[in-house]
């Protein structure tokens, strides 16, 4: 028995057939020991990658491939990065297993990466594309939080609009309690931008864009 139900596989295959354009590489950083969620994450991604010949899975080891890990800013596992045509990095990161509602986020992200664009309105894309300093967005979630995918998707779409400068992470709170603790997460989704701006709840995309811009303002300005 696989992890995905047959009917779900069929549905995903149809969605992928219809909506995928270019290739997508799922890069998974993993490790054998002391990582409860690495094995199931690899399993689900293996099943997923078998549902379209446009998708490939590339599994790396956090220690052995530490240079790669460094390059992608990976310091914990499991970590997932989606790469598009010619291994283009769109700034999309998942830390922790993309289960529950976050699996739908992963599916939607794969489709966007394959198309090289999201449905973020042009006006917002222009604002984001103009940013010339690094932005790091963290979105804390739990797999049972139905409001969380919208928050993660908003962050990932923003990263896609300017991947050179913007990286957006989903963080599964229950797998990384020390991080949840550090950022005082008691409710999800919780978004943190450049360690400066933070907010709870799923805001409309336009509002998240404004939050990103506000995180870049000079303090006191």
């Amino acid at each position: 028995m696989g992890m995905l139900k047959d009917e779900d596989k069929k549905y995903i295959r149809e969605q992928f057939d219809e909506k995928l354009k270019g290739p997508v590489k799922i890069l998974l950083f993993s490790q054998k020991l002391e990582c409860e969620y690495c094995q199931p994450t690899e399993e689900i991604l293996t099943e997923l990658s078998e549902l379209s010949d446009k998708i490939t899975l590339d599994v790396r080891n956090l220690q052995i491939d530490s240079d790669d890990a460094k390059q992608f800013g990976v310091d914990k596992v499991p970590a997932i990065i989606l790469l598009g045509e010619q291994d283009k990095d769109y700034g999309i990161r998942f830390f922790g297993i993309p289960s529950g509602y976050e699996f739908s986020t992963l599916l939607a992200d794969i489709i966007d990466v394959s198309n090289g664009k999201s449905d973020l309105p042009e006006k917002m894309v222009d604002k984001i594309a103009a940013i010339k300093t690094p932005v790091h967005i963290k979105v804390f979630v739990t797999p049972t939080c139905p409001y969380c995918p919208n928050a993660v998707r908003a962050a990932h779409k923003i990263a896609m609009a300017n991947p050179r400068y913007i990286k957006a992470q989903m963080i599964e709170s229950t797998e990384f309690p020390h991080l949840a603790n550090k950022y005082a997460v008691y409710g999800v989704p919780k978004t943190i931008i450049n360690e400066r701006v933070q907010f709870e709840g799923a805001m409309p995309e336009a509002a998240v864009v404004e939050q990103v811009l506000s995180a870049l303002e000079e303090p006191g300005a």
């Binding site: 549905y11 289960s99 986020t105 939080c145 139905p146 709170s173 005082a184 008691y186």
Partner: protein
């Protein structure tokens, strides 16, 4: 370890310029309506700002929806309904319409900057949890104050929790919170517990819970995060501070009708007034589910009312063309 994987929700990148039916709200009533209209080969768009399945998605476990003898996880039921609509060709847009012109013919709804025409509209926007409106509630939102046990429960492992509201929702979700919390006190304004018996008994069985009735919540207190809740006994007028690491609020629901308030006839509480066929006062606009004035606020009832609205819309559109 067991995992579930939600497949619902890949984006619809390209919306069409016009649809036969636009459904606003993607809870059980809106999704049921969409299942019917899509299956009747009417092009259907559901615009939903919440989770697939609406409020159902935030309910941990559902036992009174027929067809599931052992009950069903709210998340799963919501997803299944959305998948069923998708299967018949319903398209989805996530978010909230920026503009809605119901009186126009065709009706115009602006979604993500795009004007979309609709021959008929079904409003199924449901309700949203009511706020207590006490000091500290807003300040500590996300730092101990929550309205969603399924979302935030895991953050309160071994903590003492306070749940406000001894209605069915509050008691049911307390049962779920008992998986994590060390102790749960349910505080109720009225002198009696309103919840269904079966829920009360189950909650008591967790051995972690107690009720505190006839109490007014005055304030939520804390420093970085919530540390306690100040209540007043409504008989003795005595005030006390109940220590709590988190507060979950279940004090009822209010309709989500601000977006149409000036276009539709609403009752004094803001619910939409309809006739026996769920028609609103505007031609070509129906309402279904919890948002309807006087509705029985249950999933099965919402499903029923989505069905009625959809069939009415089918008749209306076929008589028009």
């Amino acid at each position: 370890m067991e995992f579930s994987f939600s497949v619902t929700g890949p984006p619809k990148v390209d919306l069409k310029d016009s649809y036969d039916v636009v459904v606003i709200g993607g809870g059980p009533s809106g999704l049921t309506a969409a299942i019917y209209t899509s299956r009747a080969q009417l092009s259907t768009l559901v615009v939903n700002k919440g989770a697939p399945g609406g409020l159902v998605a935030t309910t941990e476990w559902i036992e009174n929806y027929p067809g599931f003898p052992d009950g069903v996880a709210g998340a799963e039921l919501g997803r299944a309904m959305q998948n069923q609509a998708q299967r018949f060709g319903t398209e989805f847009a996530s978010g909230e319409p920026e503009e809605i012109h119901l009186a126009a013919d065709p009706k115009v709804i602006r979604v993500a900057g795009q004007d979309i025409k609709a021959r008929a509209v079904i409003i199924a926007t449901g309700t949203t949890p009511k706020k207590l409106n006490v000091p500290g509630e807003r300040e500590f939102y996300g730092r101990g104050v929550s309205y969603c046990a399924t979302c935030d429960g895991p953050f309160f492992a071994d903590k003492e929790l306070l749940v406000v509201g001894a209605g069915s929702s509050g008691v049911q979700e307390s049962g779920f919170l008992a998986k994590f919390a060390s102790k749960i006190t349910i505080v109720e304004f009225l002198p009696t517990i309103q919840a269904e018996r079966i829920l009360i008994e189950r909650f008591k069985k967790t051995g972690k819970g107690s009720f505190l009735l006839n109490q007014e919540v005055l304030a939520i207190e804390g420093e970085e995060t919530v540390t306690g809740v100040r209540v007043r006994d409504r008989d003795s007028n005595e005030e006390k501070l109940i220590p709590a690491g988190g507060v979950f609020i279940y004090v009822g629901l209010e309709p989500q009708t601000e977006a149409f308030a000036d276009q539709l006839k609403l009752d004094q509480w803001g619910y939409i007034e309809v006739d026996s066929n769920l028609r609103t006062n505007v031609e070509g606009v129906w309402a279904a589910g919890d948002v309807v004035s006087g509705a029985t606020r249950q999933i099965a009832a919402a499903v029923g009312s989505g069905t009625i609205a959809a069939i009415e819309v089918e008749h209306y559109l076929s008589s028009k063309s």
